[in-house]
């Protein structure tokens, strides 16, 4: 699980071009949107692409995004629950 979260942090930084941020600066429970990393709606869509590209999971409804992508923890939980 720890390895998954570390990988996720690196992938998020790369996928979203967060050049000024290091993986260790992203807390597992830190809110990714609004405050926290200040991500926006396009970033949310890119995270959907990330899930598909790296983990083969398709998030069909954009509305589920805010819940799934709330933090690294929630993303990791979702991946473990849905990975084929």
């Amino acid at each position: 699980m720890t390895e998954l979260k570390e990988n996720l942090k690196r992938q998020i930084i790369e996928q979203l071009n967060l050049k000024d941020i290091k993986p260790e600066e992203i807390g597992d429970d830190q809110p990714l949107f609004v405050e926290g990393l200040g991500l926006d709606s396009i970033d949310a869509l890119e995270l959907i692409v990330l899930l598909q590209q790296h983990y083969g999971i398709k998030l069909a409804k954009a509305e589920d995004g805010p819940m799934v992508f709330k933090s690294v923890n929630t993303i990791a939980d979702y991946i473990l629950a849905h990975k084929q």
């Binding site: 979203l16 967060l18 050049k19 000024d20 396009i42 970033d43 869509l45 692409v49 590209q53």
Partner: protein
């Protein structure tokens, strides 16, 4: 070959100079690794890809705007040229953001990003973050968001930088009271070839020695760097 339309425009620019004096107070130019503002060479960074070059300029200019890293190359180019133009010269838009226009043009539209998007989509990855930049006027959007500009904005596509047409259009906006200041210019990028030229036009400032906003003065500025 000079078209009829071109000649008409040259004729009418002279007429508009009499109605209102618009001057060019500042400009910026980015190409071939060089960043110039008002005749001063600010940075000279050779031997780098555009990715590396733009990153260097961003850092050396002390810009802090994390969203910069998400932009496509065309938007990065225009963003940097606008930052150098405005921030470097302490030009404050906030007084009346609806009275400031942005009128730009280029040759390649957003082709550089279109290709990048297509390369990824071809492999089954349709990236929304890349797709949003597959329009040439997004660079205007980024400049406007950064500097709070809300006035008239337009983007033209042409084979070459049609300075008389652009000057004419901008003068018309001044003369009809649509704007009181304007960022005009050419922002072109395809692969590793880039050329950004932005200038700031404003109603005549008393006692200043700035050149008039005419095709001749813009042509001179554009070719002098």
């Amino acid at each position: 070959m000079i078209s009829q339309g071109y000649l008409q425009i040259i004729k009418f620019v002279t007429l508009f100079q009499l109605l209102m004096n618009v001057v060019v107070s500042h400009y910026s130019r980015i190409r071939n690794g060089k960043v110039v503002s008002d005749n001063e060479l600010l940075f000279n960074i050779q031997g780098k890809t555009f990715d590396q070059f733009s990153e260097s300029v961003y850092r050396q200019a002390g810009i802090q705007y994390p969203k910069f890293h998400k932009m496509d190359h065309l938007s990065k180019l225009g963003f940097l040229a606008a930052d150098i133009l405005l921030k470097n010269n302490n030009l404050d838009i906030k007084a009346d953001p609806y009275q400031t226009g942005v009128i730009l043009s280029n040759h390649s539209s957003s082709l550089d990003t279109d290709i990048r998007y297509y390369n990824m989509a071809h492999k089954g990855i349709a990236s929304p973050a890349v797709f949003v930049y597959s329009l040439p006027n997004i660079v205007i959007g980024e400049i406007c968001i950064r500097h709070g500009i809300k006035g008239e904005n337009n983007f033209f596509i042409s084979d070459h930088y049609d300075i008389p047409s652009q000057v004419d259009y901008i003068n018309h906006l001044f003369n009809t009271g649509v704007i009181e200041s304007c960022i005009g210019g050419w922002v072109e990028l395809i692969n590793e070839t880039y050329d950004a030229f932005l200038y700031y036009a404003v109603k005549e400032i008393a006692g200043s020695q700035f050149p008039q906003h005419t095709p001749e003065s813009i042509i001179k500025l554009y070719h002098s760097n």
